[in-house]
């Protein structure tokens, strides 16, 4: 049996001390870490999850298919598009609908905008944890232009519910590409500053380099996902491995690094921000014209909603859609979100609710890294490692 599954052994002579970190701690994580320390060295650590367990899977069983869209977004609030998209992809596979090309591109656009601001969120929280408030302030400040863009597109700051079965909720405003370009140029400029503040900062390097090294074999064995996986040299990205939406037509690289330490995880995120900007530019350039909503559902709209759609390019579902029935069967979908791969598995018995709804979020799969990486490190390294994982407890606990 692999060695990390050993339970914490209490030392007989009282040499080791059990240290409880959280759930109220400076890093604002909603979880507790139970560490066993020998002096200043952490011998072993177990995350204690469940502080934000809100039973999304159970509630989904009594909600209707459309009502589940906002529900799945809530667990990972900083990265809602990934969950929204994964759920809608799974549902569409069940329903057998295919969104039109423009909708595919709009989905990709929002997913990438969301990825960038989710990465900034991660960088900011990482900054708080290693005691650099500047990084928090900068990253959270630079998140705002992107949130503003997403708001122009969808109407909400972070909980978009933009992606609906058969398409997207509204079309992009006519001057949107210019605004995006402006923001992207700003972000490009800012990334250089981050280089100075973070990447070439000796203090940050000393705290992150060589800390929490995750080897490639371990990353594969433990089923790690997202930037944490790619920082260990595994070039797996769902966008390449199992392309969805507009990704097959788009040219981008999968960022990987070989070191596997906290710094590498940080650098992969920065690299992905750059790639996402590339994707957004291509998406805007290649954006096809046409409807944003599947023909099959468009036909079902009553005339007044059809007229509304033609005038405003906004989709409003009529009431009957609340009773959307999915045929019996099951479907599974995966999507690469900011933090990693979201897997959604729906079992339907042909009713108005799913029979079993399963969502596996990246943070939950990465939770095992706490006990794997935080071993034989100093107590002061715990926040450096924790921050570098971009772990979001509500997402892990669901």
């Amino acid at each position: 049996m692999s060695e990390f599954v050993e339970t914490i052994s209490r030392s007989e002579d009282g040499r080791f001390l059990e240290l409880l970190i959280g759930p109220q701690h400076p890093a604002s994580g909603h979880m507790r870490l139970v560490a066993e320390v020998d002096g200043d060295v952490v011998v072993s650590l177990r995350p204690n999850l469940g502080y934000v367990h809100r039973s999304v899977e159970k509630i989904a069983e009594v909600k209707k298919f459309l009502q589940i869209i906002p529900l799945v977004e809530r667990p990972s609030l900083a990265d809602t598009t990934a969950n929204n998209l994964a759920y809608v992809l799974a549902l569409e596979r069940l329903l057998g609908v295919e969104p039109p090309p423009r909708a595919q591109y709009l989905r990709t656009l929002l997913a990438e905008i969301n990825r960038i601001h989710s990465h900034f969120y991660g960088i900011g929280i990482h900054g708080v944890m290693i005691g650099s408030s500047t990084a928090f302030m900068w990253a959270f400040g630079d998140r705002e232009p992107l949130i503003h863009l997403a708001q122009e597109l969808t109407g909400a700051r972070i909980t978009y519910s933009y992606i609906i079965p058969g398409g997207v909720r509204r079309d992009m405003p006519p001057d949107f590409p210019d605004k995006v370009e402006k923001v992207l140029r700003y972000i490009e400029r800012r990334l250089e500053d981050y280089d100075k503040l973070y990447v070439r900062n000796p203090v940050v390097r000393a705290r992150l380099e060589g800390v929490g090294v995750l080897k490639k074999e371990d990353a594969i064995r433990l089923g790690i996902t997202g930037p944490n996986l790619r920082a260990s040299g595994v070039p797996y990205d769902v966008r390449k491995a199992d392309p969805y939406c507009a990704y097959p037509d788009i040219d981008f690289n999968v960022i990987t690094r070989e070191e596997g330490d906290a710094m590498a995880r940080f650098l992969v995120r920065v690299g992905e921000i750059r790639e996402s900007m590339k994707i957004i530019r291509q998406v805007l350039k290649k954006m096809p014209d046409g409807p944003i909503f599947a023909e099959k559902y468009y036909k079902m709209l009553p005339p007044n909603l059809k007229k509304y759609y033609e005038e405003t390019k906004e989709v409003k579902f009529p009431g009957i859609f609340a009773n959307l029935r999915a045929p019996a069967g099951e479907s599974v979908a995966r999507v690469e979100g900011g933090r990693g791969e979201v897997v959604i598995y729906i079992v339907s018995k042909g009713g108005m609710n799913p029979y079993r709804f399963r969502i596996v979020t990246p943070s939950f799969r990465n939770a095992v890294l706490f006990e794997h990486l935080v071993r034989n490190v100093r107590v002061a390294d715990i926040p450096a490692i924790y921050g570098s994982l971009d772990y979001f407890p509500p997402e892990a606990d669901r």
């Binding site: 049996m1 692999s2 990390f4 599954v5 050993e6 339970t7 999850l49 469940g50 367990h53 039973s55 899977e57 159970k58 509630i59 009594v62 596979r93 990353a219 594969i220 064995r221 433990l222 089923g223 996986l229 595994v234 070039p235 797996y236 390449k240 491995a241 199992d242 479907s331 599974v332 995966r334 791969e341 897997v343 598995y345 079992v347 009713g351 108005m352 609710n353 029979y355 079993r356 399963r358 596996v360 939950f364 799969r365 939770a367 095992v368 606990d397 669901r398």
Partner: protein
């Protein structure tokens, strides 16, 4: 690599076990196995390159059976990464026990633990038998079972 090839490979690898191999959808290979053979099957599938598990789901069919569904895929072989390998194990309703696949796929550590916690499936050989997501003092029916009812709103079918 296309789906048929993967299905064929899976079939070949599992030929000496009693399994049902099917293709489901564009990139899903489904393997049905009974619980006596599950470890053996998992080991062979791992040999094919399915090196990690993405999700473990237990499904409750009241008074009939439980089903445990593993979604595995590959990180080391990017061609295989396009496919989902779905491993399904049926369990009798009054005896929800199945061998844990931890020794084959360490990635099931938390995933199986969660199903133990929320669905009450006993994964034999899994070292953790405490609460994971529920409060430590939780007692009663595991909440994801169908007999555990929560409030619903309006007229709900």
């Amino acid at each position: 690599m296309d789906l048929e090839e993967v299905v064929q490979r899976v079939k070949d690898a599992l030929s000496d076990l009693e399994v049902e191999v099917q293709e489901k959808g564009p990139n899903v290979v489904e393997v049905k196995v009974n619980r006596e053979n599950v470890i053996e099957a998992a080991r062979k599938l791992k040999g094919l390159g399915f090196d990690h598990v993405k999700s473990v789901t237990a499904i409750d069919y009241p008074n009939e059976r439980f089903e445990v569904v593993y979604h595995a895929s590959s990180y080391s072989n990017l061609e295989l990464a396009r496919f989902f390998l779905v491993l399904r194990v049926d369990l009798p309703y009054d005896d929800p026990k199945t061998p844990s696949l931890l020794e084959v796929w360490p990635s099931v550590l938390y995933l199986e633990h969660e199903q133990y916690d929320l669905m009450g499936i006993d994964f034999e050989g899994h070292p953790r038998k405490e609460r994971l997501l529920l409060p430590d003092d939780y007692e009663g029916i595991p909440p994801l079972r169908k007999e555990f009812k929560i409030k619903t709103e309006g007229i709900n079918a």
